[in-house]
Amino acid sequence: MTQVATLPDPFEEVAPPRGRSGGAAWGLWLLRRLGLAVFTLWLVSILVFLATAALGDPVRAILGRDYDSNVAKREQLQGLLNADHSILWRYFHWLGGLLTGDPGTSLANGQPVWGQVSSNVMNTLALVLLSALVMIPVAFGIAMISSHFRRRRPDTVIQTILLALAGVPEFVTGILLVALFSTSVFHIFPAVTISSATGHPWDTPKGMVLPVATLVVAVSPYVSRIVRATLLEVLDSDYVELARLKGIPEPVVMRKHALLNAIVPGIQVIALQLAWLAGGVVLVETLFSYPGVGFQLVDAVRSHDVPMVQLLSMIIAGVYVVVNLVADLLSILLTPRARTAISS
């Protein structure tokens, strides 16, 4: 090969160096993000506390008409809430308790809140994880099928169905599923989770099917649509077109070039939906009487059990913040551009 004399290049930008000081830059960035998340959670705690403590009198709500007559009960409840102290004191007292593992006593049954919550947390986690595990292949699968038929009839039909499902509230889907599979039409799955005396809901897997199905139906459409949109965008992009013009066969184009770039937004969306599930469980658990955090929360709200509500809200909000943080992290790790930008 004839060598062209090395052409001088005085005006080129120097591309950023990779790697060496990367570690420190990463650490700093991570620290900053974590700090931000903690700060957000702290503000959330303030909001939760103010919303429950400052907007109305829960004791009055609990006792109703007995507020004036049942003095003993009233004083007991007010004692549990430390109502005689200032709101500032109460907040820090509660916050301290939260951080040291003693977040208060339930107004409904006088027991410490934490103990009643822990097993339900496990149950909810199981539900959410199971739903996520089912959701991911379902959503991706539908997206890939749809983009294979891109813009032809099957694709449009699938997309319209997904769109229709995406807007329906999760408890509505739940009820419809129950009506279909638990009652008059098919009598396959139980409508209510039968809590076994010893163990966990997953001991009776049949009872988990409908709640999981409801969550999956609630969450997959959005994920599927985004993944499909990204896939199509990438398939239409210039560098994929160039790969075709280079003569690279289509399946290789799809696999190596397209999918790689489509995964990142997919992961972001999955993480966002997982975070959403933290709230979505509330209604689904209530519908199926599933012994999880959401069910407990609704129950607590109904009985105006402030400490319980406070703890559960912090848990749910905490999960939300953490999952969002992980989503951010993942999306940066997976985008070379952002990754190198941080290390330089």
Partner: protein, 601 residues
């Protein structure tokens, strides 16, 4: 030139070369031609420049050579013959084989050519991997050799980089290396140097020319830039509205253009060596489906007669290897390259300073991008700020206009110091210094009508209101050659050239003394640029408006400015009257810029 004549006339070397016969591309589902009647021959080792403005169909022709049409279009007729095989008739698998191996493609946008998630080294090697050529080691070595050939480093560190870690010039050279690696016979390049600096552009072009000659590759270089073509092409084909208007050897086309369109194009291009009175072409390029009957250029041609409207002229040979699609070639006389030459601005003319910049230091956050810039502007004068990207020319112009406020130093207007941001300046100062942006597609609110856009400054500065304002708007529209029927058009209906005229009219509506023009023609076709420049020149002469003209195009400077400031990396490297600086440059950088600028003359 028909196919049979071609076969007989040329002793095409047994390997290489490409013949296009009667190529036609239409829109899918509609009987509308995008391009038609395209006949071209590419000989081994030669570079053919395919020149045209937007809407000419040149990119469509380029990709058709690979048997590819963009979504919404389909190749409807013709042959693309490479060694007796017709690319358009080959089965899909063979076409795929052909692409990359025998016909390679280098795209316009360097960044989008590379997959952002895969390292450079891997992408280069991928093609060879796919064909099963060589072993892993020999493929890697081939990649290294390829990079060296285009003047890029080929160590492991470079191969491991991602696309976003390379500069535009580097990316484009990687794309070139990728195209040449499988040793194709034909190369199609689609404006690969658009957006690159003049110096980088020269490097890429030289590399490409050298590679073609060394490997006997025929190249089709698709571009809108006649100056570039003048430097690298052996033959030139000029396209207009989907057809080839003229085809011939480079020297012939530039010295004796026969087609009125080619002549008009050459009339609108500025030269480095002399100032010219640039002109544009009236009207706009018709899109497929709205093309006039008969000769497609007839509605804009100054030589058109009734016959031109009746029939589409054939492409006929008027001299060896020179073909023209015009029935009046013999009648319209000769063309002289020095037509339109005007004297340079007088370097010794007395200057009545209206705007003065002293010791300007401009910052973006903590970074200083402009260092100690000083210059001034006189009444009725055009001062050009010239530099490559990153030189600070746009930053300076934005600071003078008050759009960027992070600077120190002094900017005085008629002796008064100006505040840093436009908001802090007096209404009077804001009114008398107007700014025109580079991208006409972004500088007008797409929701507003032409009338609303042009009258706003009048209302704001208390110049006119109500009916009076509308009348003035119409006057201004006439001055910038916009038809009055566009008064109520929403901005998003207008073409780029029309929008830029609206932007100029908006600036004029404030009755300014100084107009800051920030690369206002860079995004426009060359003939449109010509008409805008003619317009500005008229304004300068008739109204005595001074202009600060930012550009990277040195040839344009010669024709439009009286004085020039050459900028490099945020500093004024050389300054003076245009004639002095361009004829007798003192600094190396200026000399380098001048020698790297593609010349037509």
């Amino acid at each position: 030139m028909t196919a049979t004549e071609t076969d007989a006339d040329h002793q095409v070397a047994p390997t290489g070369g490409l013949i296009v016969e009667n190529l036609g591309v239409t829109l899918t589902g509609r009987p509308v031609d995008v391009v038609d009647d395209i006949d071209l021959v590419l000989r081994p080792g030669e570079v053919v420049g395919l020149v045209g403005e937007s809407g000419s169909g040149k990119t469509t022709v380029g990709t058709s050579l690979l048997g590819y049409a963009r979504a919404g279009a389909v190749i409807s007729s013709g042959k693309v013959l490479i060694e007796d095989r017709d690319v358009l008739k080959l089965p899909w698998r063979e076409v795929r084989q052909l692409r990359g191996e025998e016909i390679a493609y280098v795209p316009q946008d360097p960044a989008s050519a590379l997959n952002p998630s895969i390292r450079i080294g891997k992408q280069i090697v991928e093609l060879l991997e796919l064909r099963g050529i060589g072993t892993a080691a020999s493929r890697l070595q081939g990649a290294r050799d390829g990079l060296a050939e285009v003047g890029l480093p080929n160590d492991d560190e470079f191969l491991k980089r991602y696309a976003h870690q390379l500069s535009g010039g580097q990316v484009q050279r990687v794309a070139l290396a990728m195209a040449f690696l499988p040793k194709p016979k034909v190369l199609v390049l689609d404006e690969p140097t658009t957006g690159l600096d003049v110096t980088t552009q020269k490097m890429v072009l030289d590399t490409m020319a050298e590679l073609c000659r060394a490997h006997h590759v025929s190249a089709l270089y698709v571009t809108h830039d006649l100056a570039v073509v003048a430097n690298i092409a052996d033959r030139v084909a000029v396209m207009y509205a989907g057809q080839i208007a003229e085809l011939g050897p480079r020297d012939t086309i530039f010295a004796n253009p026969a087609h009125p369109y080619t002549r008009a194009l050459l009339d609108s291009i500025p030269h480095l060596s002399q100032a010219r009175a640039l002109k544009g072409i009236p009207g706009r390029t018709p899109s497929p489906g709205s093309r006039p009957d008969g000769c497609r250029f007839n509605d804009r041609c100054s030589f058109a007669i009734d016959e031109c409207r009746q029939q589409v002229p054939e492409l006929r040979t008027i001299a060896p290897d020179h073909e023209v699609r015009c029935i009046r070639v013999e009648e319209i006389g000769t063309w002289d390259i020095s037509r339109g030459t005007v004297p340079d601005s007088d370097p010794d003319k007395k200057r009545d300073i209206i705007l003065s910049v002293q010791g300007l230091n401009i910052f973006y956050g903590r970074k200083q991008v402009v260092h100690d810039a000083s210059f001034d502007l006189a009444k009725g004068e055009v001062v050009a700020l010239v530099g490559e990207s990153g030189s600070g020319k746009t930053t300076i112009s934005r600071s003078v206009g008050g759009l960027h406020k992070d600077w120190t130093g002094t900017i005085s207007f008629e002796g008064r110091e100006l505040a840093k941001s436009a908001r802090q300046r007096s209404a009077e100062d804001r009114k008398r210094i107007q700014y025109i942006f580079q991208n006409p597609y972004l500088s007008l609110n797409p929701r507003l009508t032409v009338e609303q856009i042009i009258r706003r400054p009048m209302e704001l500065f208390g110049i006119a209101k109500g009916k009076q304002a509308t009348d003035r708007v119409l006057e201004l529209m006439e001055q910038v050659a916009l038809g009055s029927q566009m008064l109520r058009y929403q901005a998003n209906r207008l073409s780029g050239g029309e929008r830029q005229r609206v932007a100029i009219a908006r600036a004029l509506a404030a009755e300014p003394d100084v107009m800051i023009c920030d690369e206002i023609t860079s995004a426009l076709d060359v003939s449109v640029q010509g008409s805008i420049v003619a317009l500005l020149e008229g304004l300068r002469k008739d109204r005595g408006i001074s202009m600060l003209f930012v550009t990277h195009n040195l040839a344009l400077v010669r024709s439009i400015a009286a004085r020039v400031e050459i900028l490099q990396a945020g500093r004024v490297v050389e300054a003076g009257s245009v004639v002095t600086v361009m004829e007798t440059p003192k600094e190396d950088y200026t000399r380098k810029l001048l020698s790297n600028s593609p010349r037509i003359d």
